[in-house]
């Protein structure tokens, strides 16, 4: 098995699935019908992308695990998603700040993966990029409007930015997995994405009249580890809910 390829693809799959599940928790609870629908659209987009990544991961692993086995029959320590996406939804502003940080990174990454020398990665990235371009536009638009809204919304958004910022550093962490992928020209070094990410985020936050924290505040080692299976408490509860059916009734299907 190509271990580094498997690990890398799993990071993308798990991050998509976990964020999708988080957003799905808003279904029926959105602050307005329009937002509710929009967020579940994004959730479904991410789920569709995760399925493609899981199919690829399963094929690379060659152990007969399909997308369902990977999604529903692994425990928290085996998940490889970024810590950012597993964080609790909080209020709508918290959710949208997390989404904006993720979408911006996701877009920059997929743009690079579209030119990957690994044809499956390139194909999935290319297919996902259009959806993600819209996600990034939408979450950025909301951040601007809530940040530059009322005094109350501004204060809540600034608090959200300050709280969630610490989990953004992990998105740009490189290790033996990304280094190996980059050496084959199958993926970029994630650190290369950071200047463009900081630049875009700073621009949108400025438009939203919000202060961007220093990037160093996102580099504390305590706030990384998701991609090697060290997760925050939040993931366990999420998985308990998401995996309940398959765990309680193994093999259940429609």
């Amino acid at each position: 098995m190509d271990r580094f390829l498997f690990e890398y693809v799993l990071r993308l799959a798990d991050s998509g699935l976990i964020l999708s599940q988080r957003l799905a928790q808003w279904c029926g609870h959105g602050p307005a019908l329009e937002e509710d629908l929009a967020l579940t659209n994004v959730s479904l987009d991410l789920l569709g992308q995760a399925r493609m990544w899981y199919a690829l991961a399963g094929a690379v692993e060659g152990a007969g695990r399909d997308e369902d086995a990977l999604a529903f029959l692994r425990d928290a320590a085996q998940f490889r998603n970024y810590l950012l996406v597993e964080q609790d939804n909080g209020h709508y502003g918290d959710t949208m700040v997390r989404q904006f940080f993720f979408d911006t990174w996701h877009y920059l990454l997929l743009e690079r993966l579209g030119g990957s020398g690994q044809k499956d990665i390139a194909a999935i990235a290319e297919k996902s990029l259009k959806e993600v371009a819209y996600h990034a536009r939408r979450s950025g638009d909301i951040v601007v409007r809530l940040g530059d809204g009322t005094d109350e919304s501004h204060a809540k958004m600034q608090a959200a930015v300050d709280a969630i910022w610490r989990y953004t550093g992990e998105l740009f962490v490189d290790d033996e997995v990304t280094a190996d992928m980059a050496s084959r020209r199958w993926a970029p070094m994630h650190d290369e994405l950071r200047p463009a990410w900081l630049d875009h985020v700073a621009r949108v936050l400025a438009q939203a009249t919000l202060a961007a924290p220093d990037s160093i505040q996102a580099d504390h080692p305590a706030h990384r580890g998701g991609i090697v299976g060290r997760h925050t408490e939040a993931l366990g509860y999420l998985l308990a809910e998401m995996q309940y059916l398959q765990r309680a009734y193994p093999g259940a299907s429609w």
Partner: protein
């Protein structure tokens, strides 16, 4: 209107095969950009459109239902205004 509610917008979508934008419904949004985003999410989830217009509902001047008689009924008896007496050439589309 309560000031803490987003204004209402009317949404017009031009479908794949249609030549004109057609009214499909309405939605709430704080400004034109968000109205466009919301229209995309609420009304084009099943690939319905190639183009979207959004218009503030308050900016639409509408005829009153009570004026139906004076406005429209006089046209009813004037069949000569309808081009129904000409055969349509086969090459003419979209009429």
């Amino acid at each position: 209107m309560r000031h803490d509610e987003w204004p209402l917008w009317e949404v017009f979508i031009r479908s794949q095969h249609g030549l004109a934008h057609k009214h499909v419904g309405s939605l709430h949004a704080c400004d034109a950009e968000m109205a466009m985003n919301n229209a995309r999410d609420v009304y084009t989830r099943r690939n319905e459109g190639v183009s979207i217009w959004v218009v503030r509902s308050a900016d639409i001047a509408a005829s009153s239902p009570g004026d139906k008689g004076p406005l429209f009924e006089p046209a009813r008896s004037k069949t000569y205004r309808h081009p129904t007496f000409f055969p349509m050439p086969e090459d003419v589309k979209h009429m």
